[in-house]
């Protein structure tokens, strides 16, 4: 794990009041006179710390739960072995063929369209959009994706953004096969990065860099410009900022919610019956993850397109973000936790510790005055 750094104060602005979520046991309420034993009794603070050591809601969000083995007896084991042979020997090569075929068709149409129709932008964009949807369908077919879409399909209108919960990069492919979204993504290395910089550019993508603090302002500006453009593709944002294990949602970043546009929530829930679609980027590379999907029976998921939401009068962007997160979590059956996904990469700001200290200090001083 690389070195952790303290998050900059800018990232603080994203978070709603964590004190509402964390236990307030360490705040001593009784207004009795301050005695020595009150100062010596640090048990509430210690209990909180020990509780965090034993189990904490943040780590739970990123735990990949291995499936229970079902092949443990005499008649199920041969069935499972047969399944392995079919999956690796028949399905996998078949899927690789389908995918290769799909890429050939895609590239043989995309490259001519991209180069020859340079002058006819509108037509070129429409064809490129259709082609991207096509290659995404091929990808989904290569894992035998069984995706059920619920709700009205997204349409391209200005002043709207789509937000969804994030489990793996395949979320994007699953959604993209239905509608050619523009997306905001972290730039990845390797072949994924190559795809990002060539093909995804045509649907309109915005890049960000997690580790740069100044980056946020640039990205916020680009988001606003995109949303206001009339013939840009609808923008898809994953406000969690990181992949979560599809049982929980972490706090949404407010960037998508302060653009002054309508927010259309999308909820995605994967069925773990054949494979766990959570991409644990700490444990496996994207290529390994894709291979795992391609050697499983199927990827089953539900996608719900939910009712578009607008910011209510008097609501702050953070409250709006939390409200939308609630809507998505309820629909997909996910639990909400009060942590910022970026805490995977950095430590919490001193602000939280300081507010606990402030509470305790004030209570000490107040009780000192009591007679």
């Amino acid at each position: 794990m690389s070195k952790l750094t303290s998050s900059s104060s800018e990232l603080d602005l994203d978070r709603p009041n964590i004190e509402d979520y964390l236990p307030t046991d360490s705040i001593q309420e009784p207004h009795a006179k301050l005695r020595l034993r009150d100062l010596l009794d640090i048990s509430p603070t210690l209990t909180e710390a020990a509780g965090a050591i034993v189990d904490d809601s943040f780590t739970r969000c990123f735990k990949s739960n291995p499936p229970e083995p079902w092949n443990w007896n005499v008649y199920l084991f041969p069935l499972w072995c047969l399944g392995v042979v079919v999956r690796y020997g028949i399905l996998f090569p078949g899927r690789v063929l389908i995918l290769t075929f799909g890429w050939i068709i895609f590239l043989s149409c995309y490259i001519p369209v991209h180069l020859l129709l340079k002058g006819h932008d509108k037509l070129r964009k429409r064809l490129e959009r259709a082609l991207v949807e096509l290659i995404c369908s091929f990808f989904v077919a290569s894992w035998t994706g069984v995706v059920k879409y619920h709700g009205p399909r997204p349409c391209a209108r200005p002043k709207q953004v789509f937000v969804a919960n994030h489990t793996s990069m395949i979320d994007f492919i699953v959604l993209e096969q239905m509608t050619a979204f523009a997306v905001i993504m972290q730039k990845h290395p390797g072949w994924v990065g190559l795809l990002q910089s060539t093909i995804l550019e045509s649907v309109g993508c915005i890049w960000f860099n997690r580790s740069e603090a100044k980056d946020r302002e640039i990205v916020a500006r680009k988001l606003r410009e995109h949303v206001e453009g009339a013939d840009n593709n609808p923008l898809l944002i994953f406000p969690e900022g990181t992949c979560v294990n599809n049982h929980y949602t972490v706090m949404f970043k407010k960037g998508a919610f302060e653009l002054g546009s309508t927010v259309c929530p999308i909820a995605i829930k994967y069925n773990k019956i054949f494979v766990d679609a959570f991409w644990n980027s700490r444990k496996q590379s994207f290529t390994t993850h894709l291979l795992q999907l391609m050697t499983s029976w199927a990827v089953v998921c539900d996608v719900w397109y939910l009712e578009p939401q607008n910011m209510k009068p008097g609501e702050t962007p953070i409250e709006f973000a939390e409200r939308v997160r609630g809507i998505i979590s309820v629909r997909a059956g996910l639990k909400m936790v009060p942590w910022d996904g970026y805490l995977k990469y950095s430590r919490p700001s001193p602000k939280h510790r300081e507010s606990k200290q402030q509470c305790f200090a004030e209570s000490v001083l107040r009780r000192l005055e009591e007679k």
């Binding site: 034993r37 010596l40 603070t45 200090a361 000490v364």
Partner: protein, 177 residues
């Protein structure tokens, strides 16, 4: 049981249980082991500073540094013994001794005014001035019958705890699947 392989034998569990004086059940020990392995990401056999501080709930705690010093480099058996003070089966004396150990950072068996001041500083941060902290401490010490240069021992902590009218609530539940 030096390295953290994911297999715990019955013998290992019983050894750990004995070491913590039966304050945890065998199921709880298995859960704690899973948690230990989850936190010890690089499988070094102990949990490093970075790994502890990557748990945000622990990192925001004002006493995290003190606790970390006590738990740094512990292997699994010692880790369970450390947490045993928070079990529901732990005696009051055990819990009070644990609190004493948190204060007694140099481990000499005595808690001095400076130790008390250090912990109070951790708990209150910049929101009380150093002078005020000293005044508060001196005041409550004298009221309890001690002097500023008194050295406290565990029996003092125990006496003060019993004189108080609220129970010591220091329990953590180990989630058992």
């Amino acid at each position: 049981m030096g390295n953290t392989s994911s297999m715990l034998t019955q013998y290992d569990i019983e050894e750990v249980q004995e070491h913590c004086n039966n304050t945890f059940s065998q199921q709880e020990i298995v859960s704690l082991y899973q948690r230990f392995c989850q936190l010890d990401r690089n499988s070094g056999g102990f949990i490093s500073a970075d790994e502890f501080l990557s748990v945000p709930e622990f990192a925001v705690n004002p006493l995290s540094q003190r606790l970390f010093r006590m738990v740094d480099g512990l292997n699994f058996k010692e880790f369970v013994a450390f947490l045993s003070a928070f079990s529901s089966r732990a005696t009051l004396q055990h819990k009070v001794e644990f609190i004493f150990k948190v204060y007694d950072s140099d481990g000499n068996g005595k808690v001095a005014f400076s130790d008390l001041l250090d912990v109070l500083r951790d708990l209150t941060g910049q929101f009380i001035s150093e002078q005020q902290r000293e005044l508060v401490l001196t005041h409550v010490l004298e009221e309890a019958g001690y002097k500023k240069d008194s050295l406290l021992v565990p029996s003092d902590f125990m006496k003060l705890q019993i004189l108080g009218n609220t129970e010591l609530k220091m329990e953590v539940e180990v989630p058992v699947d």
